[in-house]
């Protein structure tokens, strides 16, 4: 029998609810896991989560729209967040930003047409003594220069699947 994408998504969400619980406090962990696995928190998935937790879908949407690491727009496989806060600015984040825009061919807030990369800003990443800093998904890169941008993107392109980069610290 043909399993549609929606059915699979629904099964995934039910599994997540079984794992994290079906009370309201499980909402954030479910959303975070959904985004990690599917890169997208769609209207459909918000409705399914609302049903599972027995809350109104608007409640789910209000949480998704509040947090900057949750997003109702589809995200790329690699979400790049460049720190824009003061010390990274003093250390030249503007030049890194320009090179990211040049190399990816998209502006901040956009996703590449192939769905590989999303580019955005982050507020203070806590790397103030070794900026400019950026996150690629969960991995942190420090002392980034415009020249190093290409290498970081190539590393992502050559990685099969997002998980190869997840949870690792990397220096540049």
């Amino acid at each position: 029998m043909l399993v549609t994408e929606r059915e699979r998504l629904r099964d995934d969400l039910v599994n997540m609810a079984d794992r994290f619980g079906r009370d309201r406090s499980a909402l954030m962990p479910i959303l975070q896991e959904l985004k990690r696995v599917h890169y997208h928190i769609s209207e459909y998935s918000m409705q399914v989560i609302a049903d599972l937790l027995d809350i109104h879908p608007v409640e789910v949407y209000s949480v998704v729209s509040f947090y900057s690491f949750l997003d109702e727009k589809p995200q790329g496989q690699f979400v790049i967040r460049l720190c824009r806060t003061i010390t990274c600015e003093m250390r030249g984040k503007e030049h890194v930003a320009r090179q990211l825009v040049n190399d990816l061919g998209i502006q901040f807030g956009q996703t590449t047409p192939d769905g590989k990369f999303s580019l955005g800003w982050a507020n203070c990443l806590g790397m103030c003594d070794q900026g400019p800093a950026l996150l690629v998904n969960d991995s942190i890169y420090t002392q980034v220069t415009p020249e190093k941008v290409h290498g970081i993107l190539e590393e992502c392109r050559q990685t099969f699947g997002v998980h190869a980069l997840a949870g690792k610290e990397r220096a540049t």
Binding site: I86, M90, N123, C124, M127, D129, Q130
Partner: protein, 396 residues
Amino acid sequence: MIAKTLQGSLTFSTIEPGSGLASALARPAADALGRIDASGLRGRGGAGFSTSLKWELAAKSPGDRKYVVCNADEGEPGTFKDRVILSEFADLVFEGMTIGALVIGAQRGIVYLRAEYTYLRAHLEAVLQRRREQNLLGKSVCGREGFDFDIEIRMGAGAYVCGEETALIESLEGQRGEPRNRPPFPIDTGYLGNPTIVNNVETFAWVVCILAKGSKWFKSIGTEKSTGQKLFSISGDCRRPGVYEFPMGITVTQLLKEVGGEGAKAVQVGGAAGQCVPAAHFDRTIAYEDIPTGGSIIIFGPQRDMLQVAENFLEFFADESCGQCTPCREGAPKLLEGVKMLQHGRCSMHYLQELCSLGASMQLAAKCGLGQTAPNAMLSIVDHFRDEILGRTDAI
């Protein structure tokens, strides 16, 4: 690996693991609380509330279910000491949380880790697992009958305001991270309505040091109202940025000398929510009673444009405001607009005074610490650098 950040030696590395908890378990829980009280320890997140008073109130608060929450939502610009503590001294933090649980009678602990630090999670989970195997967590901790306590890690999702304790609790409950009215305080109405203590990462680690080395030792350092050592995150225009341990009450001049930041034009103490201290005031001390800080020190060299600094901080607040209360939601963008007028050399003195008065209203009327502190940096820059910011002709 991330470049090494630690500068000099820290008290944390001299503490024998488990010594604080052993000392707390050896005597009644009230005794541990008394020793923390005698040390004068105040919250290391920056607000400076007495740790022992918070714990005492939570201990007295009626309820079968109580929670110990570690605030690892280190979002203040210029702060990174909690990242270093969690990477290098996670055991101390968990031990401090366990002592907190013993004192207030909690069964569950939660570390609220900011999403930007997700790469630390695997390490922290491994430390927790080891502690469970060593019976430092779980059922009958350290063989003490009836003392069950375990810790879980919950992730934030990129919201600065969740560093505020009631917003953090809202977030844990699966809500938007909007601060609550206080009172009621978390000590009686916290996570899921239960008594909860929310403390900074560093505070928990210091509790262990105090129980291991004695409250007299801690009280002998620092000033009368701000006792003990404190971790500082130093960044900006200096030769040796990183995490340092200094006694409370250190002057800005002394601090600059230690980190190689002599010749600075101004120092931002306390991050975006803190204040900008000009060179003329470098003899002031960093302590709760003078210039308070959660540890963020950003140094500005002579070449820095202070308006750019004010602009960056206000962009930060305009972006991070939760939008719940009007003074903060509307005030931060208005101040930012004013800074842009100053940058273009198109701000009259009259309008500047209006902006300052708006800032003062925000300090009074905003609901939470974010809105109340949002105008601080700009107001102190306007105060101290008028000649630099008024009448600009180099329009950008």
